[in-house]
């Protein structure tokens, strides 16, 4: 069975990841050096993606920006995953208990907050910067992972193989680790890629309004914000970072779809 989404998505994501990794070792131009005479060049042989209003090489900035975007998104997803999944699993072991109710109502409450507003609030009050952006985005990932893992775990707890494990005297914690988690891992991977792409978008948004990554560290959102006044005469300043975001998010989403098809036995069966 061919899985075009997975292949295309994987390639696009790999492209971005490689760009980010390479940027640690090498970038075409040093972006700390401003070179006003070279400013606002359109893409050419020397500067493949042109230069910005300070004469910095855009390709180099995109590569380093990829690093920033990926780092922020990974850490934010990590927060959501490592806090959300245990909470969701715990809630599922004691359905309708006080613990379950507390966790799920807190989740609902977090969902009620417009996430971007709160992210803006947090970064603005506690200081703009990548770290606070990570925390702000991460907080909203917690309920997502908690909800997904609880829902999936609840249906597993009804399964007879879990009853058999309970008859064998295993504790809830042990069953969660041995039986539940491995069986929902696929689902969490898929959700993880989706949250990852949302994290990229959120980071871009925060940087765009000046509350994410701070200069001089390049970030795609920041680049877009800088381009806004020049977009009418230098459209490549907006198009290139925008395309970088689109490629990354598209790649991750396609990969998520592809993974779901690959890992979901229901889909797999119907294709066979």
């Amino acid at each position: 069975m061919k899985n075009n989404s997975l292949i295309l998505g994987g390639l696009l994501s790999a492209l971005v990841v490689i760009a980010a990794l390479v940027s640690f070792l090498w970038v075409p131009f040093d972006i700390t050096q401003l070179s006003i005479p070279d400013k606002l060049q359109t893409p050419n042989e020397v500067h493949w993606l042109g230069t910005d209003h300070f004469g910095r090489d855009i390709l180099s900035m995109i590569m380093i920006g990829a690093r920033t975007s990926l780092a922020v998104a990974i850490l934010a997803v990590g927060i959501g995953f490592f806090i959300g999944v245990p909470l969701g699993l715990a809630a599922a072991t004691k359905k309708n208990s006080l613990l379950d109710e507390t966790i799920m109502r807190t989740n609902d409450l977090i969902f009620a907050f417009p996430s971007l507003v709160i992210a803006i609030l947090i970064t603005a009050l506690f200081g703009a910067g990548a770290m606070n952006a990570i925390i702000a985005i991460g907080i909203f990932n917690i309920p997502v992972f908690a909800r997904v893992s609880r829902g999936a775990a609840l249906s597993l707890w009804q399964k007879e193989f879990i009853l058999a494990a309970r008859v064998s005297g295993k504790s809830d914690l042990r069953i969660s680790a041995e039986h539940i988690f491995p069986n929902i891992a696929n689902l969490l991977i898929v959700q993880g890629t989706i949250q990852f792409s949302l994290g990229i978008l959120a980071e871009a948004g925060l940087s765009y309004v000046g509350l994410g990554t701070q200069p001089p560290v390049p970030s795609w959102g920041r680049m877009l914000a800088d381009s806004q006044t020049m977009v009418s005469f230098a459209p490549h300043l907006a198009i290139i970072p925008g395309s970088a975001i689109i490629v990354t998010v598209l790649g991750l989403n396609l990969m998520g779809d592809g993974l779901r098809d690959l890992l979901d036995p229901r889909v797999r069966r119907s294709r066979e």
Binding site: F161, L163, R166, S168, G169, N183
Partner: protein, 529 residues
Amino acid sequence: MSILSVENLSLKIGSESILNNISFKLGHGRILAITGESGSGKSMTALSITQLQPKYAKLEGKIFFKDQDITEKDEFELCKIRGAKIGMIFQEPMTALNPVKTVGDQIRETIVLHSEKNKKSADTETLDILERVGLSPATEVIKRYPHELSGGQRQRVVIGIAIALKPSIVIADEPTTALDVTTQAQILALLKRLVKEDNISLILITHDLAVVSDMADEIAIMQNGIIVEIDETQNLFRNMKHPYTRSLFAASGHSVDLPLAKRSTDLLLTIQNVTCRYRLARTKIFSKNDYFTAVSNVSFDIKNGERVGLVGESGCGKSTLTRAILGLEPIYEGVINVEDQDISKATLNTRKNIQVVFQDPYGSFNPRHKVSTLIKEPFYLIKDSLEVKNIESKIDNVLEDVGLSSADKNKYIHEFSGGQRQRIAIARALIIKPKLVIFDEAVSALDVTVRAQILDLIAQLAVEYGLSYLFISHDLAVIRSITDRCLVMKDGKIIEEGLTKKVLEQPQNSYTKTLIEAAPKLPSFQMEL
């Protein structure tokens, strides 16, 4: 002249052949039963007749309805036939009705769709239909939503939809499989009455030979997409030309050779005045909590070496009781003791005396583990290092005991059939040599031939392992063949108890009598084989 004639019908999904060159005719006002085990292609035959087979299925052959070939009709013409000329009834009454529409709407729309009637006259007709299928008061039922009706009532609605326009043919695909025996008997009687009244030809698809023998004028036996035998009911049962027909018949009426057990007077399991209850979802916001008592003041015991059956229909409390015995369910009142140890305070050491085999051969195993990991899970109950030694050889032995090979331990569960999985489930239950095994509808999901094999296996292993067991089932035939003593449960209470033979042959309680009468029976001229 026949009303329906299927000629050389073949159906393929991908490269897999589902139906292979089947032909049959259905006469006016006759009842044709199509019987076979799962995977025999009987449901696909039903869907093909109305051209509702899956899109990706490739169909060959001809299906003549009156003199028109259905396979050559376009979608528009087919829609005029479906519902109006050919009605259909499906297995699962719980999901066969749209949950967001009233049952009245769902019957009425069939009428409106195929006639020029306005809503009002269709409404009177709908009320008539509801009365005919035995749902009264119809004026009340017409406003109900499916979730407000029981399974049997829903199936009556589905039947109502199928017969609404007095079609020439009704196709019923396992119409009673999801229902309890007493409901099944009522639904079958209703169906039989309606098709006779309206002179409808009925195709009844079922896996249950006993149901068929009572209803059908003619029977077709299917196996692997082929009709192996088709004949008038009487002739078919008398002659049984095809070996598969014979084996199917033998398996359906299979009686296990249950060896005499070594009786002892030691109490293994004692259940004293046990009550279990659930909190119901509140219907008013400030009302007090309501409770549903699933198990009410139940007492019985099982002695060492005893084989006890527990019979009851769905909702009678048998699952809750099972789970309570396994220590998976809180007990509201009463005590359950295993070897004089209270199960609710049981240590691993007590619990190792009880194991369980569940109904669903597919849900009973973690799909990510190998068979060896799956069946050694109960060793977690044993802390004694002497017993935990030689686990590998114990796995080998138990696999061979249940009729598998020791090489199977390195496979994953999806490589096994339903019957093999149930053998693995038994292996898992037996590996730590418990004293009591609970079989919770352990053969209900299996086809008759496999069921017969598993029942034989259980009977044999019980002796080898010196087991006592509690066999929970809704199926009287199963209980009859595999238990010494049985209990009948209804509404959370044990209403009758005694030696299996005695209870089933001379029932005292009126409910037990109904239960026994409702169970479909195979014709008794089987001895002529």
